[in-house]
């Protein structure tokens, strides 16, 4: 008995009952399609968040002040532990960092003529643009001399420009006022759109940090320090290096806790990946339940089929089918149902993913592993749920089976 003949027998048997075979398949089709769609939506969301984070600078490391004193702990922004000395120390000593920029920000009202807009001004050094992967699309950026002289110059984001220059005038060279202090616009930032968290990244004004410190806030502290590691892989080493240098400049004893915190973008990405992974797993496991139900459907139909075809089984045995031939026939029938269902399910699942990204504008990524896995699960479902009915068929007594009414 060769495999080809067995396949031929099983295909013919299924062809005799096309509608029933299709209805049995339906459970598998829906299960596989659901699993693939869910996994592609999950994977798509994960990648889109990841690429958003990368566009913010995947090598970026942020240092913020934190409380190390016992008693009442205050929020990071009201602690004054980061100073220009830290920035200088990091610039001079760190080997894993390519750029260091302090950051101070102040919120307020920005005014141009009769128009005004509520936003925040960020004070930074020229490296800030590199670290945050910001670009100047028109005009120029400020430089070190502007920092030294606390020059009243600034760069505007697109949202601010839309609100202050609604008629499309060129903002470069114009004077705007932030909390009554006049700034000259020297450049326009290229639009970055929304961040992965829905934050408008274009609602921004950037000025030299000295200007913001001296003229807007009258403070000598920083709210954070932005740095960039030489590579994403070096983030971890850079983070340890920063901790070591800052503990030194802050003269912290070994027993004292850090009065700052260091966060790498990689950590953030990891956290988000874990969360998205859990969400995808949840969706997928719900979808997998339908696959199991599909499998039970196959088992049910195969049992009915074995009972209904008892005489056929008796006949096949009497004309020379061995028990193993009968077993294989029913097993192949079950596997054919599940694999055919799997193929149709993959096609529907992929189409659904494409539709979802086309119509709902959700990011979807169809991953090959999800297709391979659901396909394998299908085949296994066929074997698992088809085996017992097939075994029942193969154990029939041909004499009894031939007489079965």
């Amino acid at each position: 008995m060769n495999a080809l003949n067995l396949l031929r027998i099983a295909v013919k048997a299924l062809q005799r009952n096309k509608l029933r075979a299709f209805l049995t398949m339906l459970g598998i089709i829906i299960g596989v399609a659901a699993v693939i769609t869910m996994m592609s939506i999950g994977e798509g969301s994960r990648r889109s968040i990841e690429s958003n984070l990368t566009s913010m600078g995947s090598n970026m490391i942020t240092i913020s002040p934190s409380s190390n004193s016992p008693g009442v702990r205050m929020s990071g922004s009201s602690i004054q532990s980061l100073t220009v000395n830290d920035v200088i120390a990091l610039r001079n000593q760190a080997t894993n960092l390519t750029a260091v920029s302090p950051m101070v920000s102040a919120s307020g009202q920005v005014i141009k003529g009769a128009l005004n807009w509520s936003t925040s001004i960020q004070g930074a050094s020229p490296e800030y643009l590199d670290i945050r992967k910001l670009e100047v699309s028109e005009g120029i950026s400020f430089d070190e001399s502007d920092v030294r002289s606390s020059a009243k110059v600034c760069l505007l984001g697109k949202t601010v420009i839309d609100n202050l220059f609604p008629n499309g005038e060129n903002p470069v060279g114009q004077i705007i006022r932030f909390n009554k202090i006049p700034f000259q616009v020297i450049g326009v930032l290229a639009s970055k759109g929304q961040s992965g968290f829905g934050q408008d990244q274009d609602d921004i004004i950037i000025a030299p940090y000295t200007t913001v410190q001296n003229r807007v806030l009258a403070s000598t502290y920083f709210q954070s320090i932005f740095t960039s590691a030489i590579s994403e892989a070096a983030s971890e080493a850079a983070s340890e290096e920063i901790t070591r240098i800052l503990r030194e400049t802050h003269r912290l004893r070994a027993t004292e806790e850090n009065d700052f915190s260091v966060r790498t973008q990689a950590e953030l990405i990891n956290t988000l990946n874990t969360t998205m992974g859990m969400l995808t797993a949840l969706l997928t496991s719900v979808a997998s339940i339908s696959l199991v139900i599909g499998g039970i459907g196959i088992m049910n139909i195969m049992y009915v089929s074995v009972t209904e075809r008892t005489r056929e089984i008796g006949l096949r045995m009497s004309i020379g089918a061995r028990p193993v031939d009968i077993l294989m026939q029913f097993l192949i029938e079950a596997i054919l149902i599940s694999i055919t269902g799997g193929v149709i399910g993959v096609i529907i699942g992929v189409s659904a993913s494409v539709l979802v990204s086309g119509i709902l504008n959700w990011p979807t990524v169809i991953s090959e592993p999800s297709i391979v896995i659901s396909f394998l699960v299908c085949a296994l479902t066929g074997v698992f749920f088809g085996y017992y009915p097939a075994q029942k068929a193969s154990r029939l007594d041909p004499i009894e089976a031939l007489r079965y009414e």
Binding site: N5, I319, G320
Partner: protein, 248 residues
């Protein structure tokens, strides 16, 4: 004349609950190549049990059964299946054709279980077998498009297709009217006389037995009579002598 079947002191016992039912109580007979024998008996005579043993579907409790020189006792389930496939052609009372399957595919069925036959040969032999039972124009018909007599002829073609040493018919005319029965018997006689097929035909109708060359009567699990048929009837003549009625 060489022997196809050699049966000696065949016994078959069943356990039904706590009782032992002795269906065959020592049956002995031989069948030679090219013989056409009928096995007759009332219900309960052990006819069906004997048929199952002859068809290699069941093993005897004791005694010997040699089919084509092979002792069935020595074979396992798979070897028995192979034996049924290559040595025996079954014809059943209820035809047992696969529904929604063409006549040709039904006839091909036993060959699918014979790995030594390829697709081309399978098709050719099925066509020959259907031609031998005069159904050359019915290849693509499914069982529900065929009359009872035609269905039984498809079943006979299926029994012939593996070129068995013996055709084993179980009440093969039981579901047919007299005229069609005679047609089937005429075909059986032709297979026996022209193609020299050995036929063992189980029936309880005496007129069917009159078409065979020898009749074995079973009674209570034993051979009651084993007589050659001196007065062999021709089924073709019997068919022609049937009154032609308007019903057909």
């Amino acid at each position: 004349m060489s022997k196809i079947l050699e049966i000696h002191d065949l016994k078959r016992e069943f356990k039904v609950g706590s009782e032992i039912v002795r269906a065959l109580k020592g049956v002995s007979f031989d069948v030679g190549t090219g013989e056409f024998i009928t096995i007759m008996g009332t219900s309960g005579s052990g006819k069906s049990t004997l048929l199952n043993v002859l068809g290699c579907l069941d093993k005897p409790s004791s005694g010997t059964y040699l089919l084509d020189g092979v002792d069935l006792k020595s074979l396992n389930r798979n070897q028995l299946a192979q034996f049924r496939n290559t040595k025996i052609g079954f014809v059943f009372q209820a035809y047992n054709l696969l529904p929604r399957t063409s006549a040709l595919e039904n006839v091909e069925l036993p060959l699918l279980y014979n790995p030594s036959i390829n697709t081309k040969e399978r098709r050719e032999r099925a066509i020959q077998a259907l031609e031998a039972v005069k159904l050359a124009d019915r290849f693509d018909h499914t069982p529900n498009q065929l009359s009872g007599g035609q269905q039984q002829r498809v079943a006979i073609a299926r029994a012939l297709v593996n070129e068995p040493v013996m055709i084993l018919a179980d009440e093969a005319t039981g579901n047919l009217d007299t005229r069609t029965s005679y047609e089937i018997m005429s075909l059986m006689q032709e297979l026996n006389q022209v193609q020299k097929k050995t036929i063992v035909f189980v029936t309880h109708e005496p007129d069917i037995a009159s078409f065979s060359s020898r009749t074995i009567m079973l009674r209570d699990g034993k051979v009651q009579k084993d007589t050659p048929n001196e007065n062999l009837q021709s089924a073709r003549e019997a068919l022609n002598s049937l009154p032609v009625t308007e019903d057909y």
